[in-house]
């Protein structure tokens, strides 16, 4: 349970900002916010444990990282078209959110408290006992996202607002911007400016 609490505490860390901007974009996609939130957290969780366990050691710099940013822009473009059937559109949204979450969790360099430290130190030698604590940490970190997704279920008017086409396109544009900034290696700089302006 300590991992959940530390995840909640980490919401205010300057190191976490790189995760929240695109998470907002994912929420604004509109359709099925609960499903998209679950996709976001599960993908981030898998990427995080892969990194902690040294299964994923690709550095978040260089050509592959930039190329993934470009792919994200391409997927955002596909979501922007908004064609085809409802199910296909939802599938594109899920793919877009999963890819965004994986990319930003890959990019994320965490500031590590004692609980996350236990997870990372333990995962280096024996990852399996750290799988659940990592999920708890990520759940705590994205608790605001869960709350907003739940609120759209509880208040249909809020769901209607998020479901408007221009809100959805704002979300897609935000994700595409993140992808483009990653591609040109400026994402950290933008996050820094946000951190400075928010006086964190």
């Amino acid at each position: 349970m300590g991992a959940l609490v530390e995840g909640i505490e980490s919401i205010t860390l300057v190191c976490s900002i790189v995760l929240f901007l695109p998470a907002l974009g994912a929420l604004l996609l509109g359709r099925r916010p609960g499903l998209l939130t679950a996709t976001w957290i599960m993908t981030g969780w898998l990427m995080a444990i892969a990194r902690f366990a040294l299964v994923w050691t690709e550095p978040a710099t260089g050509a592959r990282h930039s190329l993934t940013g470009l792919l994200l822009v391409g997927l955002a473009w596909a979501a922007w078209q908004d064609g085809s059937t409802y199910n296909v559109r939802v599938a594109i949204d899920i793919a877009l959110v999963a890819m965004t979450s994986a990319l930003v969790t890959w990019t994320w360099v965490p500031c590590v408290g004692s609980e996350l430290g236990n997870i990372i130190n333990g995962a280096r030698t024996d990852p399996w006992p750290q799988v659940l604590p990592t999920l708890l940490f990520m759940t705590g970190l994205f608790l605001p996202m869960i709350a907003i997704a739940a609120a759209t279920n509880a208040w249909p008017k809020l769901a209607d607002i998020i479901d408007r086409w221009y809100v959805r396109r704002a979300g897609i544009a935000l994700i595409a911007l993140v992808g483009a900034l990653v591609a040109v290696t400026l994402y950290d700089d933008v996050a820094a400016e946000l951190a400075r302006r928010s006086s964190l």
Partner: protein, 242 residues
Amino acid sequence: MGSTSAGRAAAATIALIAIGLLTWVFVKPADNETAASAPSAASAADDRVPNGIDMSQDNNVRDDTITNNEAADSDATPEPTPEPLELENFGARMSLDNLDGWLNTDITSLDDLNGQVVLVEMWTFACRNCKARIPYNQQWYEQYKDQGFEIVGVHAPEFSFEAEIPNIEQALIDLGVTWPVALDTNKRNFHDWQEGRTGYWPRSYLIDQNGDIRFDHVGEGKYSDLEAAIEHLLDNPPAPTS
């Protein structure tokens, strides 16, 4: 989107938040060792058994870092025989290359500290978890510096404002950092030292007199274990290697 499912979702969210808040209030003081709770020697000593191992955080002890047999039985007998502390040897340290300079020191290389016990800490001044370690470092620096202990902070900035030297210098003053600080602005050493080029703030490596890494920890915590390791290396220097 029926009202039943909406109600369930809202109830689940409220329950989750309530559990989090309750845990925050009731659990945190007991299971965390924070900067606010234990920067003093007296408080650190209170939760330690005579052999120097922190019993309040034995779940934090990485088995391959410190081995202290039967430490959990410390209250079984009034005078337990202290077992020798055994520190894992993680191999020779790397060097600090391609730095952008040093602050708070005249040294120009980690090699200048050969023969000393050196705590190398990866950090950046805007990182809250890094700042939480500073009171402990201050205490150890004051306590052990004259016995052959040194600290080197490797400042690896996350954001551009953390890379500006005037900002770093001001932060060192504000935070009370008096030990040598290596400027690793491009984070080459930050990534090179961490396996798989991963990067975490903070990360602490304790280097023995031969230049081998004897303690390795990511994040906050394990303060008493680290202090025990420092004391052990100062009191029991390894045999010199050729």
